[in-house]
Symmetry: C2
Subunit: 455 residues, 2 copies
């Protein structure tokens, strides 16, 4: 019996998310991103397909590395415009009962007191279906948008993030005890002040003295996602993350990352199954392989290479506008760029060039699409799950929402037949559906901020 495969839709409150240019396909509806009914309709579709969740990426700045400005990003709608994803959730939650919601929030620019309230509110309004993808950002443009001259150093951002986490745990887990809320109309007693505590935090980065403004929500702490691949990022994930996103083109290399994260988690006193790993995947499928290939060729004609280069420039920190097609890419000053270029050079031979990069951008991004009949896709996903030891997939969108409809109509029934996909939702909150328990387990770093049960 294969293990159960979890599926999230990977999306963003914008036009061009990962696969750049596909918004120009006549059937693509991503340009409806500002229409609330587009999102409630998508939520209902994903719930009908028993998706575990929809997961929203986000950025807080423009992609302005390519050519030294954001022009290509503006032209190609490369994650710009990018509306706030958190505001989609309440409407999608009102239209569904089980679908989980993950949102990316960059803690660097979110005041912790108000952020803690926003997440608690979402957890209340969704009935305990909210997850948070913890990011510290990678865009200098986001730093400049928020009044800084540039980003903090990579590892310093994670130090700040560790302090931030300790602070939000205090709000979510420590401020209101279980049983604090009495809601007794007779005695005119809503809550018991002896069980509601001020969070007093005086740290290196943050200073707070406040009650959490929210009573405990169904999950208290949202399901915590993280996607950091660096050494420091993996340690952070092993400490805080319950779900981890990984990307990678071959199961063996993904397996090495997954093994490492699970081992690090075990070293922190957690179990290896306390972490669910989701692998990014781009799927183009059809009733037959021929139909899938035809669809893929059709989609391909709508790829926007300049937009994809603008995206890659910002993610890798390399201005590809400055390079000729066959000129070797220089590593420059930045450590991140050195490691990116080294990795690409290892993968593609000694002289990594813009031409080689463009050859990789087959569907408008560096993520290679999986193209095949529903049967082939289902088999590949089952195989990858085993080989890479991942728990599921984040499906990035191609032509949307058609890509999700195809997966639901064609692939899900085959996965179900193979016993690799649920046939109905489990009960309970998001964390319960993923792990079987509603709150953080005792072994999680956040649990130590709980107060002992009141006498």
């Amino acid at each position: 019996m294969p293990r159960e495969i979890r599926i999230n839709a990977f999306d963003m409150n914008c036009v061009g998310h990962i696969q750049q240019g596909l918004w120009t396909h006549p059937r693509d509806q991503s340009a409806r991103y500002a229409d609330i009914h587009y999102w409630t309709g998508l939520a209902r579709k994903l719930e009908a397909g028993l998706f575990d969740g929809i997961f929203f990426a986000d950025v807080l700045g423009a992609y302005d590395v390519y050519g030294g400005n954001a022009d290509a990003a503006v032209r190609g709608a490369v994650q710009l415009p990018a509306n706030d994803p958190a505001l989609l959730i309440p409407a999608m939650a009102a239209a569904t009962r089980h679908l989980g919601f993950g949102i990316t929030c960059n803690l660097t620019y979110e005041p912790p007191f108000m952020f803690a309230r926003r997440m608690s509110t979402l957890d209340h309004l969704t009935g305990g279906r909210i997850g948070w993808n913890i990011v510290t950002g990678y865009l200098d443009s986001a730093a400049r948008a928020n009044g800084l001259s540039g980003q903090m150093a990579h590892d310093d951002r994670y130090d700040l993030a560790d302090e931030y986490m300790s602070l939000v745990y205090k709000f979510w887990e420590g401020s209101w005890e279980d049983g604090a809320v009495v809601r007794d109309r007779e005695r005119r007693l809503y809550a018991d002040p002896a069980k509601v505590h001020r969070v007093v935090h005086d740290g290196a980065q943050y200073k707070v003295d406040a009650l959490h403004l929210c009573e405990p929500s169904p999950q208290r702490t949202p399901v915590l996602y993280q996607a950091g691949a660096s050494t420091r990022g993996r340690l952070f994930a092993a400490t805080h993350a319950e779900c981890v996103f990984v990307n990678g083109q071959n199961p063996a290399s993904v397996r090495a990352i997954v093994d490492d994260i699970r081992a690090l988690a075990v070293a922190q006193g957690r179990r290896k199954d306390d972490i669910r790993v989701f692998l990014g995947a781009t799927i183009v499928t059809g009733r037959t392989e021929a139909e899938a290939r035809e669809k893929f060729e059709d989609y391909r004609r709508h790829v926007d290479v300049e937009a994809a280069l603008a995206h890659a420039s910002a993610s890798m920190g390399i201005d590809f506008a400055r390079y000729d097609m066959d000129e070797p890419i220089a590593t420059g000053q930045s450590q991140a760029i050195v490691s990116n270029v080294e990795a690409m050079t290892r993968a593609s031979g000694p002289a990594w060039t813009k031409r080689k990069l463009i050859d990789q951008l087959v569907l408008g991004s560096r993520q290679q699409p999986l193209v095949g009949s529903a049967e082939q896709v289902a088999e590949t996903l089952i195989r990858w799950t085993e080989q890479a030891d991942v728990d599921g997939f984040n499906l990035s969108r191609t032509v949307t929402p058609e890509c999700f409809e195809d997966f639901i109509d064609l692939v899900v029934p085959i996965l179900q037949e193979r016993g690799a996909y649920k046939t109905s939702y489990r009960g309970g909150v998001y964390r319960e559906k993923l792990f079987g328990h509603a709150g953080l387990p005792a072994s999680h770093a956040g649990a130590r901020y709980r107060r002992p049960a009141h006498a």
Copy 2:
């Protein structure tokens, strides 16, 4: 023909809003505030009653002046818990077509770049139905929650607010020109970079260098509300506000405030009708006066005096827990307290005491309820509108949502008969429904941040 009366529901994402203790009434549903379906149901009701909008108060700290701690606020659910109001809007918007939404956001603690995006996102998702009540806060507890030792001085907060407004206008009005968004699939051109501009702001309080992340929303700048009653607050309102909230127990004194604000606006080059004034009102009504009085007596039995004192202590800056019933209230050090005490003393005779305050808290707040048959209520509202030169009312809730249902079922039909209430919604965005134009008028301070139309 009387003038059209505009009606907003005045509410908050919490249990006890203005009238403290009424959550304990068996028919009150305010304790359902964390249930998204409670709010979508309320939105549908208000739209059926042709309400102009629902307006959300908010606080970012606990009421901890009474007794020097938040215990009474916790016991009585006095605006604590207080969930984030912005997150209610998308679900309520998806359930309605015309209802407007006003949310209170304290700019002091909202990073402007992300706040501008949040409001633009809401304006997109509501189809142009969002308003913003600009506040600078009055709680030291909110300052401490956000890492400060206390609030800025009153007038300094307004200076910061003026700079903040100039910055958000740059995002909303100046960053993306009309016509910047092309959405041309053939040419793979989503937007024209020549018409999308970086906001570069280097002010006393804020420093920003960024594109606005959102394309123009239906209203661009949300409908701007303000409620400041101080001299500095009125000047701010006269400059920025399109809708103003006032409170007051008699039409003549309200008229003086309204005249002053309209005159100040005219002095800024605006027309007096560029500002709609809403007067706070608490209404208990029934089919007959006797029924209304009976309802009022029933509601009264659920008032929580300690909770109302905790609320009054925080709003007035006076710790009423320290006073005996008949001890004169001292003015203390703070200018705000001196003026509060002087006003109350003027109103109630030389020795203003806790007993006199409690006598005023008839329905759990200092706002005196208007109790009467639907006919009496309708006549009073029409008279007040004329005498005080206000455009409408913010109805604070008593036993909810029954209080809004009563108003819709009983008072609205009479107002309609008298020609003082619309019989269907106008078309267009929120600002259009209120003023007849979708964007800020040219005479508004925000309009100067627009770019001249691109050649």
